[in-house]
Symmetry: C2
Subunit: 616 residues, 2 copies
């Protein structure tokens, strides 16, 4: 894709963007919020800029708003499409911007897609027989500069709001749709809800769109979970059972209804005061939500029915907010790198600045996005269930009794157990810790072989007694009745090998060496619990200095919230698929060779980063 | 509103259109159907024309489709907006146009807004992992040149249609919405239904959109009729009863459901094969249909909630066609000149050609539209219930037993009775006939006074014996037990006086003399039964030569059908309100004076038209 440089004066900021991006959007990518009241729809005329070099022909909107200034290069930034290198002068940035820190240290302007406007209306008369609708539309065009289409429910509201009382009304506009007309004297609050439709957990975050304040948060186990823990199992259920798809869809909707009902009750908000829901989740979850069969995602060549962002009426989807409110699904990057990862990217600012960032969401499928504003790519690596405790003898999910942290230094086994109870098994982060620690204390060789008790005793290893046999193979006893077997270690090698291979391929595609990474971000709920040092030691992530590795928590919900609170961020989300190349691993002939090489653990001690980088 | 001339070469045809009209639409007004496959949406690039004089700046769509020809003046006609006088060369008119004669002698191109396209799709592969949706969208863009948005139901259909079988699918696109994807091997028929939502009768016309052939027609009494015969009564019911609006809405929907079910059964068509319904009716009927309270239409200053055309999802309105199909309400010209009259205008070609046409729909409210392509205006005249038999001693609706025609020549009373039974009353057309005949035979003076039996006997009038007394006033006996009283005649004078005043005001606004009218069209079901000669004699319409007066039957249904079969005609309908000025009679200080003058009947014999006009 061809890219061009847009230089913004007087700041001198440069944005490098694909051809076809608007000057308005490009400015936002570069951190310059050009003033606008219509949200970049070409109707308010506020976002004028002067194109000093590379001006293209004026558009009809330019003619309408800027007739006198066309020759001097004035254009509406939102209508001006980048088709060559440009130099533009920006006279007006967002005045007195209301902003909030969200996501991973990102500052987001509060410019929601849902806006309430109080309009003073001249009363109808024989001399001014405009319809109520025309009266409202004209006032919206004259005031905030909005050109709106009309939801059918509004046709019935107009007479109630305008007919009996002259004077003012408050309109609620979602995007360019007039969704509600509220009579004078009634309050017109506007809320939005961010939904993270996770395979395991569904999270709703209710946000007051007028203030940006979070009003309530609720979580609930995804009711689909009875049909299998991971996305592969869910797709299998949809394929195996005649009514599987219908059930999974109902369960997704029912879970969403439940978390929405909870946040509404907690914040004392009515459903019809919620005008937008942003939904993120992996592609399979979004397919199930709209009733699209996930079959073709499950089987080669792994194609989705849709990856594109969707903007649906709440009443059509069956989500209980305002019936004419919108449910917006963020786009996916590929069949296995979904809208949740797009939300992660939004929340972390990946691909927006110069920092070379690697984001990894570790799970049954490892999702990997890497790059910076210049270039970025994504892939998915089939890690299998080991990180979620599957195929591990004493493996379990991260619930009470699970060993989630292991320390073998000082010649003793120190465990971190969820709930501070007697350990009953080991979860993903404990597994990674245990293996990393076994490597550190010399009980596990580079190829993944566990020492025998005899070999360990020969070196008087203080933990030699923990080396046991279980199910006929070597094992390490973490606690009474909880062991890690040689086979478990093989499973982990396979899982981390798949993700390491995905990372390697993406770095190769981008022409980046692992040491060139400025940040490694561990996303997803699992990512929160992985110890960065252990991830490095087992080679799950490249061996960058440990301080460059951090967990970003529930970044998907944060990204969804950002898309709710800022039309500009939502626009960025919709452009991400065009900016982030998707690499399909199963299509690569070198995958197996790379994978086999990545089964081994890195040699210890890990090589240090070049001095220059450490200093930077 | 400023108007400009567009001259089309090589034909030399000139269209005079308001600023802001597209060159594409203006050409259609002038009878030149410029080739297009996307329906004037700027996506197919087919409608290129060369602007020889007055070329404006190219639009982004021009740049996309016509990069090389911009300097030579090539533009997309559908994106090129008339802002000055233009001369354009049209290289391609609609090739092999499929057309049909509809309405009142109008030839309409079959270019429905609903189109089925068979698409050959390359099968998904690891090298081509586009989503099903992207695959379909790309094929629609590459083939017919359509850029579509997607209905939520389609997201679920894609996998069924594409996932399991490679190869071809058929898409159904409504406007720019992708509404359905049909697997190879299943037939994809496309139907539309034109609905005339009359106050009295609801008519559904099912049309095969692929052929333009009418598949079935059904009619049903509007189920709202139990709450009153006319629109005033219905609005009164909505205002008087707490659940009146809800009931009227349900009854309208129920009647529409019934007529649709009948045409579907007759033609053996499934509801989901019907993708569009065009609904026409007066503004109050359309308000009730969408649940908008008609209160403000009923009381001064007579303002509607909406006059603008509406394009609603069938599932939102509750009309049982394809759920994602569209229900399109044509626009109204004013609160009392509704979408039914707009459909009449479409069907008759009024305001499209040079012919100065007066269209009158006689009823409780007389709707009047007059003009030609240069100028047109409309108004509504409050005639009251006389034409429907109300306030008339022996008045009745046009049902069995009603006198619908009267002839008093030859000294005898000759009656035309509906059903050839003994007359039991008189309906509107009979009333007009009777009064006209009484004038002709000299029994009724210019001011509306009926002769007494004595006066008639004094002149040996052969019908003197029919002059009787009834309820204490003079009367004329039409049949045993059926008389026309002096009071009835006063009612008719009042009714025709209102309409004549409306016509007079509109002619004044247009600067036209009554003799300059080339055609008078009597619309509405009542108009079909009025004898043109009688209408002239009583002064209901101006005294033009009788051969210029004709009835146009159910033109509203015809107009709705035209809007269904031609996106160009629908565009014309949506532009009519901007082209036809609406005159509010109740706002005029001279109304009463004019009305009183128009109560009298024209002097007989009627003046002949100037010789030059008769010859033309």
């Amino acid at each position: 894709m061809r890219r061009h440089r847009v230089t913004y004066l007087p700041s001198g900021t440069v944005a490098t963007v694909p051809a076809g991006t608007s000057v308005f959007d490009a400015a936002h990518w570069a951190g310059l919020p050009i003033e606008s009241t219509c949200g970049g729809r070409g109707t308010c005329g506020t976002c004028r800029v002067r194109v000093l070099e590379g001006a293209s022909e004026p558009t009809p909107a330019d003619h309408r708003h800027l007739a006198d200034g066309l020759a001097a290069g004035w254009r509406l930034a939102c209508r001006c499409v980048v088709a060559s290198d440009l130099v533009v002068e920006v006279p007006r940035l967002q005045r007195t911007p209301r902003a909030a820190t969200m996501g991973v240290g990102r500052v987001v302007l509060l410019e929601p897609n849902v806006r309430a406007h109080r309009l003073d209306l001249a009363p109808p008369s024989l001399d001014d027989p405009r319809s109520h609708l025309a009266r409202v539309r004209d006032a919206l065009a004259a005031g905030p500069g909005l050109e709106v289409t009309v939801e059918p429910t509004v046709l019935a509201e107009l007479e109630v709001a305008i007919g009996e009382r002259a004077g003012a009304v408050t309109t609620v506009v979602v995007g360019d749709r007039l969704v509600r007309v509220v009579p004078e004297g009634e309050r017109a609050r506007t809320f939005g809800v961010a939904i993270d439709l996770g395979t395991t957990t569904v999270v709703a975050t209710l946000v007051d769109l007028a203030t940006g304040v979070v009003a309530a948060v609720a979580t609930e186990i995804n009711h689909q979970a009875v049909h299998g823990a991971d996305v592969i199992a869910r797709m299998g259920y949809a394929m195996a059972e005649a009514d599987g798809l219908d059930r999974l869809r109902s369960e997704a909707l029912e879970t969403i209804d439940l978390v929405i009902a909870r946040v509404l009750a907690e914040a004392d908000v009515r459903p019809d005061e919620v005008y937008e829901a942003i939904v993120v989740g992996n592609a399979a979850m979004l397919h199930l939500l709209v009733g699209a069969h996930p079959r073709s995602i499950a089987v080669a060549p792994f194609v989705a029915s849709f990856l594109e962002p969707q903007d649906l009426a709440a009443r059509d989807l069956g989500v209980r907010i305002h019936p004419a409110g919108r449910v917006v699904l963020l786009p996916s990057l590929g069949a296995y790198v979904g809208a949740d990862i797009v939300a992660d990217v939004l929340a972390t600012g990946l691909a927006r600045g110069p920092e070379r960032t690697l984001l990894v969401d570790v799970g049954t499928n490892g999702e990997i996005v890497c790059g910076n504003v210049e270039r970025a790519a994504a892939t998915a690596a089939p890690a299998g269930p080991a990180f979620e405790g599957g195929q591990i003898l004493h493996g379990m999910r991260a619930t009470e009794g699970a060993i989630e942290g292991v320390d073998l230094t000082g010649g003793r086994v120190t465990l971190q157990v969820i709930g501070d109870v007697r350990p009953t098994g080991i979860c993903g982060s404990g597994l990674i810790d245990a293996v990393a620690q076994l490597r550190l204390v010399g009980l596990l060789d580079e190829r993944g072989g566990l020492l025998s008790r005899e070999e360990a005793l020969a070196t008087r290893h203080p933990l030699a007694d923990h080396l046991v046999e279980a199910r006929g193979v070597r094992a390490f006893e973490l606690a009474p009745g909880v062991v890690l077997t040689q086979l478990d270690i093989r499973e982990l090698q396979s899982a981390k090998g798949a993700i390491a291979t995905g990372i390697e391929v993406v770095l190769d595609v981008l022409g980046l060496g692992p040491h060139e990474l400025d940040r490694i971000l561990l996303a997803g709920s699992f990512g929160t619990y992985i110890h960065p040092e252990s991830a490095r030691i087992i080679g799950l992530v490249p061996p960058v200095p440990v301080q460059r590795i951090s967990a970003v928590g529930n970044a998907a919900s944060e990204g969804a919230k950002m898309a709710l609170l800022s039309f500009r961020e939502r626009e960025v989300a919709s452009q991400l698929p065009a900016r982030i190349g998707y690499v399909e691993l199963s299509g690569r002939t070198d995958f197996n060779e790379r994978f086999l090489r990545n089964l081994a653990f890195p040699r210890l001690p890990l090589a240090q980063a070049p001095a220059a980088e450490v200093a930077s």
